[in-house]
């Protein structure tokens, strides 16, 4: 099996995996970074969202062979202690219920807020619409994004 050199959360890793192995499973099974979640495996739920060079993408549909030159950021790399403004707002707004989709939600929100630090509610809604939350904390999530945006600006 081929080897890949990956840059994850600022650290270098070498993994041995089939070229098409989704980054999701490389993170979860090889690197034990399990904060990135498996919710469908086919790009439909957003639980596996990570940043590739700062852009939110689905890790379940990203083959490991395509990310060798990219900077990968996962929820574990967003902050060391949950102090990223998005994480702080998330706790305060009670966005997580079961918590399973939240890493994906937070990664989507943080990438979005970097591009658009002061979004309108409509823009927040559009940005977040690819992340499913079965506990249905959507209103709380949108509020948390708005709260984080206030802290960022």
């Amino acid at each position: 099996m081929p080897e890949y050199n990956l840059n994850v959360n600022g650290q270098s890793f070498t993994v041995e995996a089939a070229a098409d192995t989704p980054v999701l499973w490389v993170l979860r099974d090889h690197l034990r970074l399990v904060g990135t979640k498996y919710g469908c495996g086919i790009g439909q739920c957003g639980a596996c969202t990570i940043h590739l060079d700062g852009k939110a993408q689905r890790s379940c549909l990203t083959p490991v062979s395509s990310v060798e030159n990219a900077k990968i950021t996962t929820i574990e790399g967003l902050s060391e202690d949950g102090s990223h403004p998005v994480q702080v707002a998330w706790k305060e707004a009670d966005a997580p219920q079961c918590g399973y989709c939240q890493a994906g939600q937070i990664m989507t929100a943080s990438s979005f807020l970097r591009e658009n630090p002061a979004p309108s509610n409509e823009e927040i809604r559009k940005a977040m619409h690819g992340n499913i939350c079965r506990c249905a904390a959507y209103n709380r999530i949108e509020k948390a994004v708005a709260m984080a945006s206030e802290k960022l600006t």
């Binding site: 089939a18 070229a19 098409d20 989704p22 495996g41 086919i42 790009g43 957003g46 969202t49 852009k55 939110a56 993408q57 689905r58 379940c60 549909l61 990203t62 083959p63 062979s65 395509s66 989507t108 979005f112 559009k126 940005a127 619409h129 690819g130 992340n131 499913i132």
Partner: protein, 329 residues
């Protein structure tokens, strides 16, 4: 996943060579559809050729006033490109009506053209499907066919093409530039996708050994009078039950040229030129729009669960035309 080879290529010529020589080979770029189909064992390529290294990630102006979209430009970059937003807002709207931001960040323009139907049965190898396994039968005809075609279907297949982007591209009369072993050619958009006929396993008229290099948009983007309406089961993140792309060229309240293309209703973006011609030099008003909508749905055929799409299509055509003509009610 099943074993297969994985090759990275850096230019189109090599890509064409690779795919011509290899058995059951597929290109991969964004992978947003191929990988999920592989997960479900619907597509089982033996060789995968990664084309993301080819320099096809560009958007540039053409001499004839049109715009060229490189095959590997992502859907997001296309939708938010200034030239596209300003000159082809119909395309921009259609793209943003589909998928999710993360998927659009990965999915490429050429990949969008090649995405496969979302028919339940196509996706479930436990059931017969002529598109997945020619000759096995169509489960949808007598099954749950709420999402299925009302135009141009065959006994063999009633699947629909799921793209939003392609509906707009059909309305804009885009051209698809491809490269193959015998050189380059371009395919008018209406000839790109196929009706199922006896060979539903073939979605397009692209040959097995050809690669899409770019998509050309003609100069006229219908930027003044356009509309994209998408009827779907939830407010975002679902495929179209019926979508409509309309572009109008108007002079005063008269219509000079009309483009009306329906999505989610056929094996390809569904365009009715006879109906479009009916509007030439006519007043933009509800009466004429109702008449043209009647013409469009005249040849529609529904199945057990999707009959409603006919009336929905009719009303949506009227609504889209009214919006494009900026007629308030």
């Amino acid at each position: 996943m099943r074993p297969f080879t994985f090759t990275k290529v850096r230019n189109s010529a090599v890509a064409v060579k690779e795919i011509s020589e290899k058995e059951e080979a597929k290109f991969i770029a964004g992978g947003t559809n191929l990988l999920d189909l592989m997960k479900f064992d619907v597509m089982i390529p033996k060789n995968i050729i990664d084309i993301t290294g080819i320099a096809l990630n560009y958007i540039k102006n053409l001499e004839d006033g049109g715009l060229r979209l490189g095959a590997l430009v992502t859907n997001s970059d296309t939708a938010y490109h200034k030239e596209v937003e300003n000159r082809y807002p119909l395309l921009s709207h259609a793209i943003l009506a589909g998928a999710s931001p993360q998927l659009r960040n990965k999915a490429t323009d050429a990949g969008n053209l090649l995405q496969r139907t979302r028919c339940y049965y196509f996706y479930d190898p436990a059931t017969p499907c002529n598109k997945r396994e020619p000759g096995s039968g169509c489960s949808a005809i007598h099954g749950y066919n709420r999402w299925h075609a009302i135009f141009g279907a065959s006994e063999k297949c009633i699947a629909t093409h799921p793209s939003d982007m392609c509906v707009a591209l059909a309305a804009l009369e885009a051209k698809v530039n491809v490269t193959g072993p015998n050189g380059e050619r371009n395919i008018p958009f209406e000839d790109f996708h196929r009706l199922p006929g006896d060979h539903p396993e073939k979605d397009t008229n692209l040959s097995k050994d050809e690669i899409i290099t770019s998509i050309d948009l003609p100069a006229n983007g219908f930027a003044e009078n356009f509309s994209y309406i998408k009827n779907r089961d939830r407010a975002s993140y679902s495929f179209a039950l019926v979508s409509i792309a309309v572009g109008l060229e108007m002079k005063g309240n008269k219509i000079k040229e009309a483009r009306i293309v329906l999505g989610g209703v056929a094996h390809k973006p569904w365009r009715n030129k006879e109906a479009e011609a009916f509007l030439n030099n006519k007043e933009a008003n509800r009466e004429n729009f109702e008449a043209v909508a009647d013409v469009i749905v005249r040849e529609a055929k529904g199945y057990e669960y999707n009959k409603f799409k006919i009336e929905l299509a009719r009303r949506s055509v009227v609504r889209a035309l009214m919006q494009a003509a900026k007629i308030e009610e």
